[in-house]
């Protein structure tokens, strides 16, 4: 592109002395043409821009440092030395100036420390979670696989085992693919054997899992392909932490056995200390599915990861999977119609919706920083006016404007450096505070264990401080060194209000602060309203006083369905009479305790094609479950003890299922089959909807099945892992925990029991990320408001001081206090109005990126905008109250005498 040259020349020529311009341009042109021929136009263009910029800077500096004619001193190295000397002088002078005005300095450094500190703290979180590479070799090649069901707006749902094995067999894009199971938070193994029994978190994976993420055991061996066969799968890899804690880092541990939930596993290896996975497993065991489970196509409970083959792009892999998915949809229309495999980078799977939240918080914090900049800039502007005498003297003795700007910018950078240092301290404190309030959902985020100030974060803080210093320093420095300003400031000393330019600049900065604040306030209040809406969503049951405990019945001794039923009956019986216990129930899938499986639903004698996928969540529940949870029965009957094996199979559906699948008819008495062709059950009742995956997730169609009747569509032994729910009376919740343990131990001492928790805590955890989100953004909005109010106060009191004489004259000529007040308020009011207007416009645009984080409130909710505008205006009024009341108390005589 030939035409770059004139443009570059035009831009940079003015920095080069006139008599050198032509030969230098010619030299550049000559080299540029040679470069183009050798390296191509794009690189030559880059070269040209870079060289021209360097040349311009060199000459600019040379002129600023020495002026022309160039002094006869040594070589360029010495030139650099003199530059450093000048800088040191500037810094020393700057520090002296700042120490002479401790009030100004303290306020400026404090404002910057708030801005830079908050930015640094949030940056360190965002960097750790979103930007740092995952701790796996070539982590960008590792993809997370999921099953997408667009009709249900699920893009990365869990995978059915049969689908997974088909993908694994037929895809050519991956060097290895591995599945693992989704573990609900309360699922854990009981480690028994030498020492105290201990609960350990397992990760069940198919053998190539470690190879996919590129981890090799530190000790012993990785899983082998045959380890996923039932019967050979009793092998385990220990985490480094468990190995050290439980086995004293004994290297001979490989080959020994441990018992989990009464089953014996051989230790085949120990994972390296740096091994990390979001669920923080203590043990990794092979995921062995039996022949029946391997054929499940309607039960979705696997997740998968795959490492892309060299040379295969994610796009190719997606296409490869799409073809397999299309074939499976055709071959198995009942289960797989409208299903397709999908893949995304592993980090996206780990981070999920937290990404938006983090970026919104980072945006909020950047606004606080900008406001702090504007604030310091207004302070500097006010100070610049006061320093006009100094500037004039320096100009008179020959300082160039560039030299003055350099001096003032150095002072700004000194302030920024001090603010940055204080900010980093603030950030490291707030990070330790943040670590203690992080919700459980955040524990699985990459890098969250290593939050802190390290080299990267420090570098970011330094860059932010420097850029901040430039941003808030450049306008005041230019204004202060402006000779035209000097002239008008001579007038100011006679009682004016500074040059029009300087005044506009100050007002502009305050308007910017006001509008940025309003954007933050609006964003924060939208989040607060959303959160408030969310906590007021009725979950469909009564969570208070509900105590829950997960129970895993060992498969070996509870192979028969009847034994499982007998176990839960016995526990319920023992607990029912205990003090403080009102009712006892059990369920295979508890609300707010992780996702639950979904199966296809067949409705008897219905032939018409459904316009949407016909699926339900099957939930096995005990007879007393509905009463214990206080889930209302809308129609029909509940379960009773006669709904057992041998009698007619029954089901209770929820209202969502009734609405969706029987919109115009009565479901009661109809027969359905769940996850199978002809496993018919009669619908005997309709239960109220419950929120399951979160307060913000609408109820999905669900079918409750009595625990006493066998249900095998989700695999053998589905009913063996269940959660006991106990409604305690009054405030007896805390005392119920030991009762549950005793009751379970009395029935079968070898049945492990999970953490005993309260339902309220579970719901609290599900909304904790939103709580943190709105708390952070609100805190930043509050800081922004305070900074803005301070900025407005500063500017208005400065204006009033400057106009004392004018006000005095006006009052001497008969102006009333009201008129003086109106004069001052008009000034402040127009700034506030403009700020509010711009802020509303900005908020309308920017809050759109938050829509996924809002709940029950639109991003353009007029009430929110109105109330926040009023709040901002009220705070602004408060900020100008003192200066304007001072204006009305100006004594005309004193004001005139002073001037």
């Amino acid at each position: 592109m030939h035409d770059q040259f004139p443009l570059v020349l035009r831009l940079f020529a003015r920095f080069i002395p006139g008599d050198l311009r032509e030969p230098i341009a010619g030299d550049l042109h000559e080299e540029y043409l040679a470069m183009r021929q050798r390296l191509g136009a794009a690189r030559a263009d880059r070269w040209l821009w870079w060289q021209s910029l360097r040349l311009a800077l060199t000459f600019r500096w040379e002129r600023a440092a020495h002026g022309r004619p160039l002094p006869p001193i040594g070589d360029e190295l010495r030139g650099f030395g003199s530059m450093w000397d000048g800088l040191r002088q500037d810094i020393a002078f700057g520090v002296r100036m700042l120490r002479r005005q401790p009030g100004f300095t303290a306020v400026a450094i404090f404002a910057l420390a708030l801005g830079i500190g908050a930015t640094t703290a949030i940056f360190s979180v965002v960097d750790a979670v979103l930007w740092r590479p995952l701790p796996y070799p070539r982590a960008d090649r590792v993809m997370s696989l999921g099953e997408q069901r667009p009709r249900e707006s699920r893009w990365f749902g869990p995978i059915a085992p049969a689908d997974f094995f088909d993908w694994r067999r037929d895809s050519h894009s991956f060097s290895a693919v591995a599945a693992y199971t989704i573990m609900s938070p309360s699922g854990a193994y009981n480690l028994t054997g030498d020492g105290e029994p201990e609960r350990v978190r397992p990760l069940e994976v198919t053998p190539p899992f470690l190879g996919v993420i590129g981890v090799t055991p530190a000790l012993g061996r990785d899983f082998r392909a045959e380890d996923e066969t039932v019967g050979r799968h009793r092998v385990v890899l220990l985490s480094d932490a468990l190995w050290r804690r439980r086995f004293g880092a004994d290297r001979s541990v490989v080959g020994r056995t441990v018992a989990f939930d009464g089953r014996t596993f051989e230790i085949v290896g120990v994972l390296p200390a740096r091994f990390w996975w979001p669920t923080r497993p203590d043990v990794v065991v092979p995921l062995a599915l039996d022949d029946h489970d391997r054929t499940l196509r309607a039960a979705h409970f696997l997740e998968a990861v795959g490492r892309l083959r060299d040379g295969v792009s994610p796009r190719n892999a997606r296409e490869d999977l799409r073809i397999i998915g299309a074939r499976l949809s055709k071959d198995f229309p009942a289960e797989n119609a409208n299903h397709a495999p999908n893949l995304r980078p592993l980090r996206d799977a780990f981070v999920g919706d937290v990404q938006t939240m983090l970026l919104v918080v980072l945006g909020a914090v950047a606004f606080v920083l900008l406001i702090a900049c504007a604030n310091v800039a207004t302070l500097l502007l006010a100070r610049a006016a006061a320093r006009q005498k100094e500037v004039s003297i320096r100009t008179a003795v020959g300082a160039s404007r560039a030299r003055l700007v350099q001096q003032m910018m150095t002072e700004s950078l000194v302030i920024a450096a001090a603010g940055g240092a204080a900010g980093v301290l603030l950030a490291s404190w707030s990070l330790s505070a943040l670590r203690t309030v992080l919700p459980a959902r955040f524990a699985g985020l990459p890098g969250i264990d290593h939050l802190g100030i390290d080299v990267r974060v420090l570098a970011a803080a330094v860059i932010v401080s420097l850029v901040t210093g430039l941003i808030f320093g450049v306008l005041p420095a230019l204004a202060a060194s402006d000779q035209r300003l000097g002239v008008s400031l001579n007038e100011e000393s006679r009682g004016g209000t500074g040059s029009v330019r300087a005044r506009r600049l100050r007002s502009g900065l305050v308007v910017a602060e006001l509008s940025l604040s309003l954007v933050l306030l609006t964003g924060a209040s939208l989040l607060v309203v959303s959160f408030n809406n969310l906590v007021n969503v009725p979950p469909g049951f009564e969570p208070s006083q509900l105590v829950i405990a997960r129970v895993n019945l060992p498969g070996a001794r509870y192979a028969e369905h009847a034994r499982t039923v007998a176990f839960f009956d016995a526990v319920a019986e023992r607990l029912a009479g205990a003090p403080g216990v009102q009712r006892v129930g059990a369920t295979t899938s508890l609300p707010f305790d992780g996702p639950d499986s979904r199966l296809s639903l067949t409705i008897e004698r219905r032939t018409a094609q459904s316009p949407f996928p016909v699926r339900v969540h099957p939930r096995l529940v005990s007879t007393g479950y509905f009463q214990t949870m206080r889930i209302p029965l809308v129609r029909g009957r509940g379960f009773n003890d006669h709904d057992a094996e041998g009698s007619v199979n029954v089901a209770i559906i929820n209202e969502a299922a009734a609405r969706r699948y029987w919109p115009n008819e009565d479901p009661i008495g109809q027969r359905i089959s769940i996850g199978a062709e002809d496993d018919w059950r009669e619908i005997v009742g309709i239960a109220g909807d419950t929120r399951h995956e979160g307060l913000d997730a609408d109820a999905d169609p669900a079918a409750y099945l009595p625990q006493r009747q066998r249900f095998v569509s989700l695999g053998n032994g589905f009913e063996r892992t269940a959660t006991l729910v106990i409604r305690s009376s009054g405030d007896a919740a805390a005392s119920v925990a030991p009762l549950i343990r005793t009751a379970v131990a009395n029935v079968d001492s070898q049945v492990p029991i999970g953490l005993v928790r309260q339902m309220d805590d579970l719901i609290g955890e599900s909304i904790a990320p939103r709580r943190l989100n709105f708390v952070l953004v609100s805190a930043f909005a509050a800081v922004a408001l305070v900074l803005t109010a301070a900025g407005l106060y500063g500017v208005m009191s400065y204006l009033v001081t400057q106009r004392t004489r004018e006000i005095g004259v006006r009052m001497a000529l008969g102006a009333t206090r009201r008129q003086v007040l109106a004069l001052v308020l008009r000034e402040a009011g127009s700034m506030t109005l403009l700020g509010v207007g711009l802020g509303v416009a900005g908020a309308l645009v920017l809050t759109r990126s938050m829509t996924t984080m809002l709940f029950g409130v639109s991003a353009a909710n007029p009430l929110v905008y109105l109330s926040m505008s009023v709040l901002l205006a009220a705070v602004a009024l408060l900020a100008i109250a003192v200066p304007s009341s001072r204006a009305t108390r100006v004594d005309p005589l004193a004001a005139l005498r002073e001037s």
């Binding site: 050198l20 032509e22 030969p23 030299d27 060199t58 004619p69 160039l70 040594g74």
Partner: protein, 110 residues
Amino acid sequence: MAATDVTSLGEFEHMVLLAIMRLGDDAYAVPVRDEIARCTGRDVSRGSIYITLDRLETKGYLKSRLADPTPERGGRAKRYYELRPRAVDALKDSRRALVALWRGLETALS
């Protein structure tokens, strides 16, 4: 312009003068920079070449002339430099001084 003393010749100025001497009739900024790079392996910034040439001219070590414009330079002239006698003297002096100082030291460094 007080500095006529040879000792005020900096290391880099020295290199530039020698490069011009080596180049003879073809001494303008681009080949000067290339020659320094070729002989010393130092990649010097263009800006310092121009500033040093300018300074050496001001100090009276160099004289320059503008050549005719050529099309491959976008119709712009080259500025050719040549050494004035002072510069040759200064180089000779410094060489003499350096050689004298080096004498007998070759073994000390080997």
